[in-house]
Every structure is written in C-alpha cells, then in structure tokens.
Symmetry: C2
Subunit: 190 residues, 2 copies
C-alpha cells in the first residue's frame, strides 16, 4: 500500500483546482479522491468532510484574493488604485472561478482564521477608499457598493448572464468608471 503523499494543504489545493475546473457547486470528495488515485474515505485523514473542505478552500482562496488585490493596489491611489483593484478582482474571478465562488462564503462567527483573511481583503478595499478621502459611514457604504458592483458583474459574467454581443470588457470599464465618479462625488458631498 504505497502512500499517496497527501497532506491538508495538498488536498485543499487540489480540491480548489477541482472547483475551478468543474464548478464550486459540483465539488465532490469523490472527484478529489479520484485526482489523487485514492479512495474517498482516505481524505478524511486530512479534512473534516465536504463542508470542512469547502471552508478550508474558502480560507485559502480568500487569502490568495487578498494577496492579488493588495499587489494590485500597491503604489497606486485614487481612481488609479480603484481600476487596478477592480481589474485584479475580475481577473481572479476569471482565472479561478471555483476559488472565487468560495471567497463569497461568509465566515462562521467563531472562525477566527477565516475572519482574518476576509478582514485582510476588506482592509485593501478600505485603503483604496481612503485614497478618495472616504472614511466612516461613507467608507462602509462605498465598500458595499464596490463589492456589490464587482461581485455582481463577475458572477453574472461567469454565469453566462451577459448574452449580448456587446464587448464585456468595455462594459466593465464603464461600470468601474461609474463607481469612481460616484465615490469622488461622495467626497465632495461630504
């Protein structure tokens, strides 16, 4: 019985790849086990069931998203930073649809590790908004508007919701420009 060399991180990473390839909803332990050429119950030595695996993927994917956004934001400010972060966000959703879907999952109230990585993403966004001069309630509203616009666009695009031939990149650019203008306006409106 040769060992397959599994570990928690290896299993989670492979499972994330499965989710990217087949869809977050279609993720199954059977598919992951098959990837490793291993029987399904063997995975239980490394993860706690399908739901535990989903949570682990969410944590890993959210960490990766935070790194990607942070890298995009560094050295930029204002609309420049906003556009870079927005593009990075959408790019992540395109490149890793399964991981992206995982990042939407809200952390359980007592899951500190998960909370930490979602907070890290939030901090990047807040830093971008600070570049507009937004803070407090304005920043909260702006964060929600920004996440709503980006998340909505990425999920609708991934779900095939944009049937029309009109160039999708261009629509996205105009959406982000609109968000930029809105936030700029909020600043001057005080």
């Amino acid at each position: 019985m040769p060992r397959a060399g599994l570990s928690h991180d290896v299993v989670v990473r492979e499972a994330a790849d499965v989710a990217d390839a087949t869809g977050w909803d279609q993720l199954s332990l059977a598919a992951v086990a098959a990837r490793f050429g291993v029987r399904l119950p063997s995975l239980y030595k490394h993860i706690s069931g399908l739901d535990g695996l989903r949570r682990d993927i969410a944590v890993q994917a959210t960490r990766e998203l935070g790194e990607v956004l942070s890298a995009a934001a560094v050295g930029r400010a204002g609309g420049d930073a906003l556009r870079a972060v927005a593009d990075a966000y959408r790019g992540f959703g395109h490149a890793y649809p399964g991981r992206y879907a995982a990042t939407v999952r809200a952390p359980a109230p007592d899951d500190d590790e998960h909370r930490a990585v979602t907070d890290a993403v939030l901090r990047v966004v807040l830093a971008v908004l600070a570049g507009y001069g937004l803070s407090g309630d304005d920043a909260v509203d702006a964060t929600r508007a920004l996440r709503a616009g980006l998340h909505g666009f990425v999920t609708l695009e991934a779900g095939g919701g944009f049937g029309l031939p009109r160039d999708v990149d261009r629509s996205f650019r105009r959406l982000v420009d609109g968000l930029d203008a809105t936030m700029t306006a909020w600043v001057s409106a005080g």
Copy 2:
C-alpha cells in the same frame, strides 16, 4: 390509494416555497415529496427530475420577478422609475430568496419559454433606461451595471456578507443614487 391532487404547477410552486425556506442549494425532491405527504418517485409524473424542476422554478420565478418589476415601473420615469424598480428587485430577493436565486440561472440556448421570461425582465430594465435617454451600446452597458449592482448587493446581503452594523437600507439607497447619477452622466456624455 387516494390521490394527492398534484399537478405540474402545484409541484413547482411548492418546490419554490421549499427553496425559499431552505435555500436554493438545499432544494431536494425528498423535501418536496414530504410536503405533499407523497413518495419521492410520485413527483416524476409531473416533473423531469431535480434539474428539470430547478429549470421550471427558474421560469416561474423569473416570470414573477418580471411582473413585480413591471408593476413597480409603471407610471414612473427616470430616477423615480429606477428607484422603484431597484427597491422592488431587492424586495423580491428578500421575500423569496430561493426564487430569487433561481432567476439567476441563465436559460439553455434552446429553451424558448425560459428565454421569453428573462427577456421580459430585460425589457423592463431597458424601458427604465430609455427614460434616461439611453439606448444602443449605452443601454447595454447600463443594463449590465444595473444588474451587477443590484444582483451583487442582494446576494451579498442574503449571504451575510455585510457584517458591519451600518444601516443596509441606507447603503442600498446610496448605491442606487450612484447608479442614477452614473446613468444621467452617460446621457450628457452622449
């Protein structure tokens, strides 16, 4: 063996209620059959499996959404219409989370009935945008931005993604105001 009085429409409606109560992802034929006090295979006389049922719920829910949005838009124009439609959209998502999730499902390419109801929703949105003087590519971009913003907000809200205490109604109002301003600006920018 008394008859339970099932029919296609009755089953789909009850299944939509199950989806609202337990979540679109948790929808199961077992739960629907239990609601009717009927054995699971009996449902197959009225629907074609779980996936067929999901598609049927999507069609029905999208039709309902179209009616709700259309009713909200009637007799209004411009920002007034936009706000009314946006509130109706979010209200539908709150009141019927399972049905709402079903409306996101894109129609199969050859599913004319499904396409017809999604087109009806699109027509309402386009009518609102026409009130801004938007048409052609501008209208397509605006539709996408609008759907992205509304859909993103509703799903994040439903998913518990808005953890902060800041009033969510207020954030939504500001998002819609921002969309209104953006579309107004697009018109003048031609």
